[in-house]
Amino acid sequence: MDLFALTAHEILELLANGKVLPDEVETSVRGRINAVNPRTNAFIRTYQENKTPANAMPIPIGIKDNICVKGRPVTCASAILKDFCPPYDAAVIEKIKASGGVILGSLNMDEFAFGSSTESSSKGIVHNPWDLERVPGGSSGGSAAAVAAGEAIWALGSDTGGSIRQPASFCGVVGLKPTYGRVSRYGLVAFGSSLDQIGPITRDVTDCARLLSIISGFDRRDSTSVDLPVPDYALGLRRDVRGLRIGIPKEYFIGGIEPAVEKAVRAAVEFFRKEGAVIKDISLPHTEYAVATYYIVATAEASSNLARFDGVEYGLRVLPDKPRKTGIVDMYEETRARGFGDEAKRRIMLGTYVLSAGYYDAYYLRALKARTLIKNDLDKAFTDCDIILSPTAPTTAFKIGEKTSDPLSMYLSDIFTIPANLAGIPAISLPCGFDAGGLPIGMQLMGAPFAEEKLLSTAYAYEQANGWHSRKAQL
């Protein structure tokens, strides 16, 4: 039996029955990493953490390289952080350690989570386990690929505009972006602070519910975290979808969607209709502004969040061979020129531009207004829908290199996932079929704020009846 191929809840059952030992599970997963990581490049580095005395859930977990683990390098897959080791654990890492989780190492990602394909990593491209010629999606491409390839039982990702859901969709796994404020951001290296959330990437919905229960909860160190009790999400999975009101937004079924994706998602709608759900055609009229709005808000925040990487306090410091400018400007320029990759530079420049005097009102302020309109659309939709169902991404995994020269088409692969971040609502992606080439297709369920239980039970009902999650990538 390949332990690395099991879900966490299957492993926990074996452990409870004394059929395996925690160390056997870890050995199996580490062996798998050694075997397949040279092909996927999902892990940037692995390490052995000291075992915590708690062993309630000794599940091997991979951590996206933008979440702080005390004393371990955290680089956001960027050269500029060099070998920076944070002196503290992120809130979610404290919770993982307290649960007995076995931290395997750091997972590859787009540099600073800027991307939808994990091609902008300074640590090399990640390959999709379903087709090594294709991207795993991004920015949490390492997390999704690792879970799909058996290199981790489950993983943490972060989602600013779809960075958990889109790679989950491309890699045939389950990924959930929680409600903004559900999971503490303390220790997550910020990209777009008003959009970022950490969330689980798992092999099935049950694991997703379990990992979400572990990492959720109020944290006074994060002022945006919300003080609401955390349910045991796994206990609420078995719920009838009869009478559940599911909205199908017409703006999410437009030109540019691959026919196979649309077909799979439409089939999922039919499943729910047959199960007794009430299917409603709805409109989210401001959807067309979501991508533009997102790329203003997110880059504005990113340009400020990344200002701290200046070579002064930690990380990379580069001095030019010959001094050119007075004082410290040389060091700033050289360090940032060498430390950041192209996409990071593009976003820093874009964000700096939209916040600049004379442009602020035209871009940033208008984007904030558009964000409110997009949120209002969703708020209104949730007055007569419980769930909004759509594709997670317009396509299945694309070829490595296919979109790197066209940032705009890359940005459009997040077109369906971005609204949930702008509105701060929870959304899950789960497998809903495969295209003719055998690539996984994902569907997205969005819910009202803190409706994670409803998202999970709806996803669970679909998953159990359709079983797409049991198909595994062959490596």
């Binding site: 955290v74 956001c76 944070p86 160190r221 306090e313 930690y314």
Partner: protein, 477 residues
């Protein structure tokens, strides 16, 4: 041409809360470099700010004391700029919703009361400190100060002379000290001030081009810098040139200003709302609670002291000028004591003791009870004024009961007539020429003999009684 000077001041005040503005680090200074820091104030990746509510209360106190309206919508913004002492590459500040706005401060200047307008007061975090290391020729950064809470108080351009600016700062500092929100020490940098200065032809209503003066480290340096800049602008205009809007650094040693490089002035701070801090709304009840808890402010106290104790504005201003001295005065004044004498003792000998020791009232071991007892021993004739000053010097150090010190030092005035008469006889016998002068009508010469007699009695005689005895003796001989 006759010019009118227009001055507005920006004061940065470090608040004395127990911890920093956005983390739990102690808000302290004088510690070893980079020992009072954490991931949050170091701006480490992944760290997040959390607002210290005490800072908000201090900001509200300052705003209310300056007669401002409080913004119930509490919001922070990021001010983006690069400097090595700013670890995040942005400063968390307040841009469009300062905690307080539209206030004024009453200032007594040039013998009359003026209201200086307060445009706004906003909360923000302090940066670290750059230290140049001569041995290695390197610049080092000390982040201990990073995250120290600041309130920036911006005045209206309401001041018309360097002296008015000085008087405004003095009144502002005093108000802030009464609020107990800061130690207001310019030398330590807990109070810093920049001045915006312009001039215009008298009668003109349009403002002239202003320059910003920085780097002054005392109120008198600010006064000197403004005077210097006003003269410089007048010379520029009189020579037919325009004043250039720029930032100038004051050099105290040379008594002149140096322009900052223009590149350093061309800042676009790209303010935007701080996404890591959620805006919230204060209730009127919360604001009222802070208002009710405000102490009596110096201007109100001065008016009350004058009315309640009948003291002069001059004495009152001195007393109110040090809150602890005024507190001391009021405790003492509640006891059985002559108020005028108490005032004289506080603003005279006691002030001298404080100045000699370069300290304030709590630095002395003197209690109001002991000062009153001492004054009353002079009033009942037990000791002379001179001896009492001696006792004061003693008890401010030792904290002893003045009555015990009088006894120990044997300072009680001699009332034994026989001893007194013997000394008077001696003095008269030893100074026949002086006695002659007195007899021939030069009455003032008697003072000389009183002094000699006092010396022989080690100051323990009552000078009035001595004088009478000497006069009587000479008349009788």
């Amino acid at each position: 041409m006759d010019f009118e000077t227009v001055i507005g001041l920006e004061v940065h005040l470090q608040l004395n809360t127990a911890t920093k503005i956005f983390c739990g680090c102690r808000n302290d200074f004088g510690l070893e470099a980079n020992t009072c820091v954490c991931p949050v104030c170091l701006g480490l990746p992944g760290s997040l700010p959390v607002l210290n509510r005490q800072v908000l209360f201090s900001g509200m106190k300052v705003g209310l004391a300056l007669n401002c309206a409080i913004n119930t919508f509490v919001k922070f913004d990021r001010k983006n700029y690069y400097y090595p002492d700013l670890p995040k590459g942005y400063q968390i500040s307040q841009f469009d919703f300062p905690i307080a706005k539209n206030g004024f401060l009453p200032v007594i200047t040039g013998g009359q009361e003026r209201r200086i307008g307060i445009t706004r007061a906003h909360l923000e975090e302090d940066a670290g400190k750059l230290i140049h290391d001569d041995r290695t020729n390197a610049t080092l950064v000390d982040y201990n100060r990073t995250g120290t809470p600041l309130v920036e108080i911006v005045s209206e351009p309401d001041m018309r002379s360097a002296q008015e600016a000085y008087d405004y700062l003095t009144a502002l500092k005093l108000t802030l000290q009464y609020l107990n929100v800061s130690d207001c020490d310019m030398e330590k940098g807990s109070l810093r001030c920049d001045a915006n200065v312009s001039i215009r032809p008298r009668g003109e209503s349009k403002l002239g081009t202003k320059t910003e003066l920085k780097n002054m480290n005392s109120f008198s340096a600010i006064r000197r810098a403004i005077d210097h800049e006003v003269a410089s602008q007048a010379r520029t205009i009189l020579s037919g040139k325009p004043v250039v809007q720029q930032t100038l650094l004051w050099n105290e040693e040379k008594g002149m200003t140096i322009p900052m490089r223009s590149k350093e002035q061309a800042h676009d701070y790209r303010y935007f709302p701080e996404p890591d801090l959620v805006p919230f709304t204060l209730t009127e009840e919360q604001i009222d609670a802070v208002r009710r808890a405000l102490p009596e402010l110096p201007y109100a106290r001065l008016r009350r002291l004058i009315g309640q104790y009948g003291i002069s504005e001059y004495d009152g201003t001195i007393l109110v000028g040090d809150k602890l001295a005024a507190d001391f005065f009021e405790t003492a004044a509640a006891m059985k004591v002559d108020i005028k004498k108490l005032c004289n003792w506080m603003n005279g000998p006691l002030m001298k003791e404080l100045n000699d020791r370069r300290c304030r009232i709590p630095g002395l071991k003197l209690t109001p009870q002991d000062l009153v007892a001492l004054i009353n021993r002079v009033e009942d004739g037990t000791i002379s004024n001179l001896a009492a000053k001696d006792v004061l010097s003693d008890i401010v150090e030792t904290g002893k009961d003045p009555n015990i010190v009088i006894r120990e030092k044997g300072l009680a005035q001699v009332s034994d007539d026989a001893q007194l008469e013997t000394i008077v006889d001696e003095v008269i016998r030893e100074n026949p020429q002086v006695v002659e002068q007195i007899r021939s009508g030069k009455a003032s010469a008697a003072g000389f003999l009183v002094g000699l007699a006092m010396k022989k009695m080690h100051g323990k005689a009552n000078p009035k009684i001595l004088n009478t005895a000497i006069q009587r003796r000479i008349a009788n001989v």
